[in-house]
Amino acid sequence: MSLSVAFVALLAGVVVWGLLARRLTAKPWETPGSTEEVEAEGAEGLPPAKVGLWTLLAVITSLFGLFISAYWMRMEHAHGDWSPLAVPRLLWLNTALLILSSGGMQWARAAARRGQADRLRVGLAAGGVLAWAFLAGQLLAWRQLSASGYFMASSPAIAFFYLLTGVHGLHLLGGLLVWGKTVVRMAHAGVELIDLRLSVDLCTVYWHYLLLVWLVLFTVLLSS
């Protein structure tokens, strides 16, 4: 739980100081003398989708933070029934796939910024396909585990393994939905690159974020 509290505290700190403190010292009961002052103030010009995505990432961080807290507390509270997990070696390969996938998205994003449509196509396709490969690899790891007789109910560490990889996979699947929509839009004749830029941007941020989550989860699972 301390992890989650720390996360919330951090977030509260960031929100209060970074975003609000300088504005919350205003004295709203004093109306400014001229309308020019009014012009300058108002909502920021960031695209709402970006703010929405970052808010969503905070929610997902809270979710995974709590899962990891639960993992540690379950380990701590275990009465001799915690047996460490032999993580399937396949996971190393999967991790490499996900890193490459993230790299592909980053490439696509850079291409979109520079206006190179061909590279954007390649990067986006590579990022998505590698992410699918990662998911297939995760499924394969599940199959390997269950083939050697480890099911969810076998031991708490294994239950957490299935649970954490499963939840991470679901989040990636959600990302792939948006990726799919972007690819379909890209395939449309006559689409302007500029219209795709925001979608590619958001996908890339989400991809990097899920890579980070995966690296943390993998470390946690390795240290069981």
Binding site: V8, L24, W29, T31, S62, L63, A70, A78, P156
Partner: protein, 586 residues
């Protein structure tokens, strides 16, 4: 680049064409708000019905043989869960949040209208799954609204096979719905305010709803985590929460799980949930008091900071629900301290409400009656909270009716009074007609006095040691007969209060057609939602041009001004300049 509000930028609003897209499959935040509100009130009535059945059992234990102990526990569970989550959370955030945020911030709609629509329909699915639990074998779960394992999934607890799974599923679906709505509320507040609407010019209603949404977004994942893990425990046979239990003579099917882990996760959600319900109520009541007392809110900036402080502190007090759980006793000291600290910003808010009334021009309208009723009730409930926040006092009182009285006062009756006040206040904007005033006054006084008749005696029962959660008290020597009489009296009051709510429902429906036409600003209020070109506001809210805000939301009774209120969008030249210039000290 010159600043252009998002809603002013060039993009098509989804103008509804047919009946279906206009009223059912609608992306308009106002329609979605009404859908949320109607669904929440409908399911809330089910929960009200269950509380009546519980009270009948407690007040007249031998009369109602159809209510068996299993039913009683199912009623407790569903009553609590529905009231806290499916009624109050959904109504405050999905209902009032949806309606008020875009209107009060001067936006045309939520920033993601499609997701907003989906949010409602997913919420409806969550409610339907919840209701489905009544029709499966074994009925809904009777584990108590906290759903503590191991009893929640062990045979012997009603609904341990089907009911609990549907409950957890419904909660998970609700959380998905809430997250979609919540992303909308937060992003709309941050990104879609109209020109001139700085953060500190937002009405406190928006602040309260905004902070409650942030709390919800960060706290609901804890409930999701515990729901997912408990579902796996119950369906797949994992042992996250379930220890080895020999149940009904069967060998244990689980081993090593930690029930305490569930309690930590549950209350990490559960305590912020209290403030998810309370903060919107705090915000809304501030606006009601200011408008109907014709006076600016006292200490506006302090109110905003208090909302933020309460929001942050609410994440570090959860274990005060667990003093009797067997956790490390040293935790109790820490959590008692944080719990008492959170009383500071809360008390600041109460002082500011009272000081807003001080030398105000108090109009005892129906919304105002409910707002003042809220202050009384919240102070009462809050003071007993100080008792229960201390470990040594909580331990003997924890399993008694004192706790029932405390939380019903502080997070049952108080927010509900605000809900009523808010409905009387904004109904004219939503429908274009006033609610009937006489019926409203009858509704307020009978509800207000009635709830005190219900919950004040419960404090005495609790101090007497009458345990909560019991189906019947016969054969318990330590409970005197007078407690039984008190229970009968409480039941009669409860039946009475429940019946009075029918007056309110009647008023809601009757006034739709027969209410006095309201005009655009019946309360002569300053905030933007009362300045729309149409009442009720049309799709897009503002006609051709977005409003521009020139002042804060509380310019009431400004000396020298023509009227006793100056709307937020009134340019400076036209109205008198507000505030310090005229010697008002905020």
């Amino acid at each position: 680049m010159a600043f252009v509000a998002i809603a002013d930028r060039d993009h098509a609003l989804h103008d509804p064409q047919t009946f279906i897209t206009k009223y059912i499959w609608s992306q308009d935040h106002k329609v979605i708000a009404i859908q949320y509100a109607i669904t929440a009130i409908a399911i809330g009535l089910v929960a009200l019905g269950m509380s009546v059945l519980m009270r009948l059992q407690l007040g007249f234990p031998h009369f109602f043989s159809i209510i068996v102990p299993n039913n009683y526990y199912q009623f407790i569970t569903m009553h609590g869960m529905i009231m806290v989550i499916y009624l109050l959370t959904a109504l405050f955030l999905g209902g009032f949040g949806n309606y008020l945020i875009p209107l009060m911030c001067g936006a045309r709609d939520m920033v993601f209208p499609y997701m907003n629509m989906i949010s409602y329909w997913v919420y409806l699915v969550a409610v339907l799954v919840l209701v489905a639990a009544f029709f499966v074998p074994g009925g809904p779960t009777g584990a108590g609204w906290t759903l503590y394992p191991p009893q929640a999934v062990l045979p012997g607890t009603p609904g341990a096979s089907w009911g609990i799974v549907l409950m957890l599923l419904s909660l998970a679906i609700f959380i998905v719905a809430f997250t979609m709505g919540g992303l909308n509320y937060v992003t709309t507040v941050l990104q879609a305010r109209c020109r001139g609407m700085t953060l500190l010019r937002m009405p406190l209603s928006v602040w309260g709803i905004f902070m409650a949404t942030v709390l919800g977004l960060l706290a609901f994942p804890a409930l999701l985590v515990s729901a997912v893990m408990m579902t796996l425990d119950s369906v797949v046979g994992t042992s996250f929460f379930l220890p080895a239990v020999v149940s009904m003579g069967q060998p244990p099917t689980h081993s090593g799980g930690s029930p305490l882990l569930f309690q930590h996760l549950f209350w990490f959600f559960g305590h912020p949930e209290v403030y998810i319900v309370a903060l919107p109520a705090f915000g809304i009541v501030s606006d009601l008091l200011s408008t109907h007392a014709r006076r600016h809110i006292f200490g506006y900036r302090m109110m905003v900071w208090a909302i933020l402080a309460i929001g942050c502190l609410s994440f570090v007090v959860w274990a005060h629900h667990m003093y009797v759980s067997g956790m490390n006793p040293y935790f109790g000291f820490f959590f008692a301290t944080t719990t008492l600290i959170i009383a500071v910003p809360t008390a600041i808010k109460v002082y500011n409400w009272v000081l807003t009334l001080w030398r105000g021009d108090i109009h005892l309208t129906v919304p105002m009656l409910f707002a003042i009723g809220f202050i009384f009730t919240f102070v009462n409930g809050g003071l007993t909270g100080l008792f229960l926040g201390n470990v040594t006092v909580d331990v003997p009182l924890s399993a008694t009716y004192f706790v029932v009285a405390h939380f019903h006062m502080v997070m049952g009756v108080s927010p509900i009074l605000v809900v009523f006040g808010a409905i009387y206040h904004w109904y004219p904007k939503i429908t274009g007609r006033m609610l009937n005033d006489t019926l409203g006054r009858i509704h307020f006084w009978l509800t207000f006095v009635g709830t005190y008749a219900i919950y004040l005696p419960m404090h005495y029962l609790g101090i007497m040691g009458v345990p909560r959660r019991y189906y019947a008290f016969s054969g318990t020597n330590f409970i005197p007969p007078s407690a039984e009489w008190a229970n009968t009296a409480i039941t009669i009051s409860a039946l009475f209060v429940a019946a009075v709510q029918m007056v309110f429902l009647f008023n809601l429906i009757w006034s739709l057609k027969n209410g006095k036409p309201a005009g655009s600003n019946p309360w002569r209020a300053t905030t933007l939602e009362w300045q729309t070109p149409d009442t009720p506001p049309k799709h897009g809210n503002w006609g051709a041009k977005l409003p521009v805000v020139y002042r804060w939301a509380y310019d009431y009774s400004v000396p020298g001004a023509e009227e006793d209120f100056i709307p937020q969008n009134q340019p400076l030249e036209a109205g008198m300049a507000a505030g310090r210039a005229h010697g008002i000290k905020p």
